[in-house]
Symmetry: C2
Subunit: 246 residues, 2 copies
């Protein structure tokens, strides 16, 4: 009522926070992305939230992509802390669980992480070192160690980032209609395996759901997935030990 929208003018900073630095820029960016989503995030809203003009950001950070890269690091850099595993199997179990919990807390960065983090240069050497150490413990050496390492990283990132990635629309009713029209709107009796299992899969499976992991988490699929990944690596480790197999 009578309020004027003034996006260009920064709000005054409070007395306690009258100096900017790069850490508070990245932390505030993560807060804003958590709250408003990635699409609404901009340097200008970030600056406004910090009470400065947009150009002030560039004194501390070279560009927007650098902020986003540091946001993904911030969202995932605690995943090692809770892990207390003795065996390599238990380590992987806890690693995948811990990573998923991090994404669950920051679902709006999920797409950033799958898009940037792995291909690029985020995570800490500590994490990489511990993964490699546990895979050596499992018996992997040489090219098999490389394969096992890449399998672990892809497995860690691949599931959870998909599970929690925001849907195509905020309106789950609209999303549901798109899914249903695509799955149902076909000649009856054509996709027999799919339609037979549709009650089981509906809203519980990739490409057949209308809510993302925040509202409808894959809480029973994920343990299955973890055990499948570990069993697969156990099999490959055993295969390595009898090289006559090919």
């Amino acid at each position: 009522l009578g309020k004027v929208k003034r996006n260009t003018a920064p709000k005054p900073r409070s007395a306690t926070e009258n100096r900017l630095d790069d850490q508070m820029i990245v932390e505030r960016a993560l807060e804003l992305i958590d709250r408003e989503g990635l699409e609404k995030f901009s340097i200008r809203t970030l600056a406004g939230s910090l009470g400065v003009y947009p150009a002030a950001i560039y004194w501390y950070v070279p560009n927007r992509n650098e902020i986003l890269a540091r946001v993904t690091t911030l969202a995932t850099d605690k995943i090692l802390e809770t892990i207390r595993a003795r065996t390599w199997q238990q380590f992987l179990r806890e690693l995948l669980t811990s990573f998923r919990e991090a994404i669950r807390k920051h679902p709006n960065v999920a797409t950033l992480i799958s898009g940037q983090m792995v291909g690029n240069s985020a995570h800490s050497p500590q994490l990489i070192d511990r993964i490699v150490a546990h895979l050596e413990e499992a018996g992997f050496t040489g090219p098999a160690l490389v394969g096992a390492y890449n399998t672990v990283i892809a497995a860690m990132v691949g599931f959870a980032t998909q599970e929690f990635a925001p849907g195509p629309t905020d309106d789950s009713q609209e999303w549901r209609e798109v899914v249903e029209s695509r799955v149902m709107g076909t000649k009856s009796g054509e996709y027999t395996a799919l339609s037979r299992n549709l009650p089981l899969l509906a809203n519980k499976a990739f490409m057949l759901r209308w809510q993302n992991g925040v509202e409808a988490p894959f809480d029973s699929s994920y343990p299955f997935y973890i055990e499948a990944v570990i069993a697969g690596l156990e099999h490959m480790a055993a295969r390595k030990r009898r090289p006559g197999r090919g």
Copy 2:
């Protein structure tokens, strides 16, 4: 020499292509993304490339996100065609290989696919039906079928989209320096497992590379990954058949 940059004015359409439609919009969009990358893609350059004003696009397509969603579908909708498998294991082997080949041809859409496709509503019911049918063949029913299905989708999308996702910079020398400074720039002797295996992993592993899958594909890691996924699912199928286990 003397050329004037005129981004706002559309080039005249040739006589053969003087009518627009949604299919050619999506196809041209994919071409432009393949050629110039996702960051440079815009409705305005797309319109310019088609010889029309930007607003003309909106007669056929509701918004930019819809174009991108249809681009991901276009880039991946042929993956079933080459598959001639008899067993479910061989089907998964060919599926993961075929999906990776699709991403290899369109690396600049990799981040779109991991960000949108799976969480959302892209793929054809045919693909889903065939995956479900082969997992039933493997012996999965009930919640285990859901787990196996989600495992297959996450496995299919997770690795290849990461592998081919564009790096943080076009300059691989710069990328290399970032990776090296992060991995090397630590107290010597601290990350023993990592530094011991660094020659093996360098530029062949996620987070330890400075080229993406286009220049340095994970051609030996991917078969390892496929076999690990299949072996893991075989293990879970066998576990299902003796329910006293757990």
